[in-house]
């Protein structure tokens, strides 16, 4: 695809780009689809859809097992996807990339496996704005292993309270910090490099939940100096069923396996099994082969658009949304973080977010409404639910204008 050399997508570039997403030309309830729910899951470009179908049509077999041509081709494609992800995240080596089924599984893997190395009396530190995926596994670990679970507070604006974070680390008992790189509710992009540095100086390792962040910004795990980093393929214009755990090699090597089964062993007798080297040790059973390949294609596609372009376009959209939405009578935006990605949660007087979402849907506009898998955060904000519009590289300013205009009419309808 050819995109002009400016730092933002021109109108022509954007319509060309949108043309690559077949779903965007659908209508819903007779209206053109306006898809503002990409933070829940992004739509897929033709190259991903076609690439996965093509693999199943022409070069598919189980991997690592067959001594035949088809298996070798599948294995190559799967392992090439691993290399692609390693390069994408700036990992030190491809063995540091473990394929999981989603971010949730990646976090559970760390909570179970690295978690088994954490001793009673030690602590895990999370924040108030975690997705349930980065909260419940740690609660389960706490209850299983008798460790302490600490929660770093956020400000009313939705920024992490760094003083409190520092204080919670100060007794040196925190073994692991697990914190989001970007909030799926507030859009807050956390100061990851600082968080890592502070964790390390307190002797803690750190996991960053990059499920939202990798979609919008270039991430380099070595520059961040992160110990673990997780993301999920379906939010990154790739398929469902594939997720990624990056882990520093020496940590992964010291960790026990998560699940047992085929492919993760080097030898098995009835008395004892020995584990395969990483990453195979953590990939028991037949993995999501076609989905991993689809994820590799999605990453190639994003790189072809260019992260500078993606960032600039989404920053412009977010700025636009923050300008036009507050003009809607009764609308208030939730949070005012210093650095916000393309996620805007809002409420509108006492019109319930589910009514907002249903009425937007009748007008072809898809948004998310509810607690966004972050109930403790909702409680912290004094809310039970919000509506959320989230933006992707294919979102247009016009769509945000239609959202604002439709919200005005919804409010009139209820008041």
């Amino acid at each position: 695809m050819s995109i002009s050399e400016t730092d933002s997508l021109s109108h022509a570039d954007l319509s060309h780009l949108r043309g690559q997403f077949p779903i965007l030309s659908q209508t819903v309830h007779g209206k053109p689809l306006i898809f503002l729910d990409s933070a829940a899951s992004a739509q897929k470009p033709d190259v991903v859809i076609d690439g996965m179908a093509e693999m199943m049509r022409s070069q598919y077999a189980n991997i690592h097992r067959g001594l035949h041509w088809m298996s070798e081709r599948s294995t190559e494609a799967y392992e090439a996807a691993r290399s692609r992800v390693a390069e994408f995240l700036g990992a030190g080596s491809r063995e540091e990339i473990i394929f999981t089924h989603n971010s949730t599984e990646a976090i559970n893997l760390v909570a179970y496996s690295y978690g088994s190395l954490i001793r009673p009396g030690q602590a895990v530190l999370i924040s108030e704005m975690e997705h349930h995926a980065n909260l419940v596994p740690w609660q389960m670990l706490r209850d299983r292993a008798g460790i302490d679970l600490r929660v770093a507070p956020i400000s009313d604006d939705g920024d992490l309270d760094l003083d409190a974070y520092s204080a919670l680390l100060s007794d040196g008992k925190v073994a692991l910090v697990a914190i989001t790189h970007m909030s799926n509710v507030l859009g807050t992009v956390t100061p990851a490099a600082r968080l890592v540095e502070m964790a390390h100086s307190a002797g803690a390792k750190i996991l960053l939940d990059g499920s939202q962040a990798v979609v919008h910004r270039r991430v380099n795990v070595r520059e961040l100096d992160a110990d673990f980093y997780t993301f999920t393929g379906h939010k990154l214009y790739g398929p469902t069923g594939i997720g990624v755990l990056y882990g520093r090699r020496e940590l992964l090597e010291a960790m026990p396996p998560f699940m047992g089964g085929g492919d993760m062993i080097s030898s098995v007798t009835f008395e004892k099994s020995t584990w395969a080297p990483v990453p195979a040790k953590f990939e028991a059973g037949t993995p999501a082969i076609v989905e991993a390949v689809g994820l590799g294609i999605a990453i190639d596609w994003m790189e072809s658009v260019g992260f500078d372009m993606i960032e600039a376009h989404e920053a412009a959209l977010t700025k636009h949304a923050l300008r036009v939405l507050p003009d809607v009578p009764g609308l208030s935006i939730v949070g005012k973080p210093k650095d916000r990605g393309g996620v805007v949660s809002f409420t509108m007087d006492d019109v319930h977010p589910h009514d907002i979402a249903t009425l937007l849907d009748r007008n072809g506009i898809a948004v998310r409404a509810g607690h966004h898998c972050a109930e403790p955060l909702m409680r912290r904000l004094g809310l039970t639910a919000t509506a959320r519009a989230s933006f992707a590289v294919y979102t247009t300013e016009h769509e945000i204008d239609v959202l604002a205009a439709t919200l005005r009419r919804i409010r009139q309808f209820f008041v």
Binding site: H354, T358, R362, G370, H371, T384, R409
Partner: protein, 145 residues
Amino acid sequence: MDACSLYDAVIVARSRSPQYAGTAKAETARAQGTNPLCGDRVRLSLCEERDGIRDLRHETRGCAICIASTDLMAETVMGRTKADALELARRFTDMLNSQSSAADLDDEAGLPGALQAFLPLKTHRSRLRCATLPWTALGEALKHD
């Protein structure tokens, strides 16, 4: 804007100003229903006498559908016997859950007119629970005596 048949005028009106909000004067039972998916919460306060439901009031935090459904439920079950109210709860829930089209059901269900406003929910299945939540809570309230 396409407001869709789901937001019938009576639903919007009742959600804006419920007629049966509050607590029953001589309360004999209470019950609560919550929907963890959206945080909606219905609190029912009931005065039941031997011949039936004398008073039913509610405090509802939720969407328009949920508030209106609770309010219209209070209106319809007041004065009915317990058995009657439970039967109505069953019919209302069955009507929403059944696969048959709204048109087929109008007569068959024999539901009081006001409750027919919820028939369009049949094509908005993700919102069904908003309307059935108060009826489930009512079932609970009536069970405990």
